[in-house]
């Protein structure tokens, strides 16, 4: 059962102020309507993971760890490896997150991150087969939300993509009898793309990118687009209960691609040979 949740109380005064500012094209934290908060990330900080990235987007902080294990391909895709995405809304990230197994919000988040990676064809699943139909790599992507300051989706998609980029896999040799031997070689995961997601908050028919926590609690609804590096759309999700006009959907799709290009240059900028902290600002 999915059950209506009580919305967190945002003071009426704040809400009114927010709406007045918005009608003048400004936001309560002084950002412009199309301005992201500061994005920064570190990769490789969890040595025991095969790949990891800690990403902060304003006050939101997400840690993604990737583990690669051996497993069996699915029956209907014997020539592909397996990708598993899981998300945990840790209760220490927000008093509104309950301890316990992932609830519908965590599941929807994990499934959206999964779609963004899978449909963009980011991870080359065919390269993850070792013995077709028998043995393959299983790539576990665990999204750990550490601090919840709004816009979890963008932070999670970007952190997951960055963690996958950071992932190394151990190579195996297969002899003629199909027996596996672990080698000393490690390689990067073979990647085809780098998906970028852009989320809009919508209040009273006004939309803006990257809602922060207070905006998120006030918004009528949300719309997220994930773009490939060439500007294709690989995933879309409307979230929460409000309504959107078709015309605005198209406007957001176009503005989203503009923002995605900015974020992309930030995310891919310092990649080569550098696993250290990388701070940038996609805003303005």
């Amino acid at each position: 059962m999915s059950i209506t949740r009580e919305k967190p109380v945002v003071s009426k005064i704040l809400q009114k102020e927010m709406l007045e500012l918005l009608s003048n094209g400004v936001r309560i934290d002084k950002r412009k309507l199309d301005e992201y908060r500061k994005i920064s990330y570190q990769t490789g900080i969890i040595e025991k993971a095969d790949g990891s990235a800690l990403l902060s987007l304003g006050e939101t902080m997400v840690l993604v760890g990737v583990k690669v294990e051996l497993g069996q391909p699915f029956g209907d895709t014997p020539d592909q490896g397996v990708l598993v995405v899981n998300a945990e809304l840790l209760p220490l990230a927000s008093q509104t997150f309950e301890p316990g197994p992932p609830d519908e919000r965590a599941i929807a988040l994990a499934r959206y991150v999964d779609r963004s990676i899978r449909e963009s064809n980011m991870v080359d699943l065919k390269s993850l087969v070792i013995v077709p139909g028998k043995v393959c790599y299983v790539v576990y992507v665990d999204v750990y939300v550490l601090d919840y300051g709004g816009n979890l989706i963008d932070a999670s998609v970007l952190a997951a993509a960055k963690a996958l980029e950071n992932t190394k896999i151990r190579k195996y040799e297969v002899d003629e009898n199909g027996k596996l031997t672990e080698t000393e070689n490690v390689e990067n995961l073979k990647l085809n793309d780098f998906p970028i997601s852009v989320t809009f908050g919508i209040i009273n028919n006004k939309y803006f990118v990257d809602p922060n926590l207070e905006e998120e609690q006030t918004c009528d609804t949300f719309l997220t687009f994930t773009y490939t590096q060439t500007g294709n759309i690989c995933a879309v999700m409307k979230n929460e209960q409000g309504l959107i006009s078709p015309a605005q959907v198209i406007e957001m799709m176009e503005l989203g691609w503009k923002k995605a290009k900015e974020i992309s240059s930030l995310m891919l900028g310092g990649q080569k040979g550098n696993d250290q902290e990388n701070i940038g600002n996609a805003g303005s």
């Binding site: 059962m1 059950i3 609804t221 879309v236 409307k238 309504l243 959107i244 198209i250 176009e254």
Partner: protein, 243 residues
């Protein structure tokens, strides 16, 4: 998604004989159940979706009620025998996500503020699945809500569009859903010109996305006409009985 066989032939005809903009046959049986307050059997192609509504009712446990409006409880489930391979009866992550997605689509159209401190239960049971079940579920739920006499801002009509063999096609069937390049479920309220559910996965250019959204709205309009006809027919029958 990778194309494995031809889904649309040279004449623009799909595997089930439809043109790219055609919907599958739709059948609406209102009041299918005796004990629910409102119910419908909604069939679209081989989809058989049973939706039913109870309420507004008292809320248990008490502390989950809201002082200013009704809460909605929505459950979307697929029967173990509804799919090619038997589905385990335990709820999957997909079913949990779709229950939420359907609830989100309905929250803004049900006039919940008329029924404070109550709950409206909406059950969507997929008895047979044939692609597009989430939007068929929203369409069915809207009919069941209307059948239960729950006031709404408008009737929600859902339809999926997608991309197959590089073309945007309406109301994907099972093969197109599995082997096509993209799937895009949309729920739309024609009287408000608003979208209440929008998802997409697969690969589309921005131009294709625009086209798909427009085709989704056209398809939803067709579904809407059938919804309105079904509700009118039932209403007229009731009126006649009254005379």
């Amino acid at each position: 998604m990778s194309t494995k066989r031809q889904l649309i032939n040279e004449q623009g005809i799909r595997t089930d004989g439809r043109g790219v903009d055609d919907l599958r046959p739709i059948k609406i049986t209102l009041g299918y159940l005796t004990h629910a307050n409102g119910s419908v059997l909604y069939e679209q192609g081989k989809n058989k979706i049973l939706a039913a509504v109870f309420g507004p009712s008292e809320v248990h446990p008490k502390h989950t009620e809201l002082p200013d409006r009704a809460i909605l409880r929505v459950r979307y489930r697929m029967a173990p025998f509804s799919t090619e391979e038997r589905k385990s009866p335990a709820p999957t992550r997909r079913e949990i996500e779709l229950s939420m997605v359907i609830r989100n689509a309905l929250e803004s159209v049900v006039l919940t503020e008329l029924f404070p401190r109550t709950v409206i239960d909406i059950f969507v049971e997929v008895l047979q699945a044939d692609a597009g079940t989430r939007v068929a579920g929203v369409t069915a739920a809207a009919l069941a809500l209307a059948d239960a006499g729950i006031p709404m801002r408008g009737i929600t009509a859902g339809c999926a569009v997608g991309k197959a063999d590089g073309k945007i096609v309406c109301d994907l069937n099972d093969i197109e859903d599995k082997e096509g390049e993209a799937d895009m479920p949309v729920a739309y309220i024609p009287t408000l010109n608003k979208i209440s559910l929008l998802q997409m996965d697969g690969l589309m250019t921005q131009e294709e996305f625009k086209q798909a959204l427009s085709k989704a709205i056209n398809s939803a309009m067709k579904v809407y006409q059938l919804q309105v006809n079904a509700l009118k027919t039932k209403y007229i029958k009731r009126e006649e009985v009254k005379k």
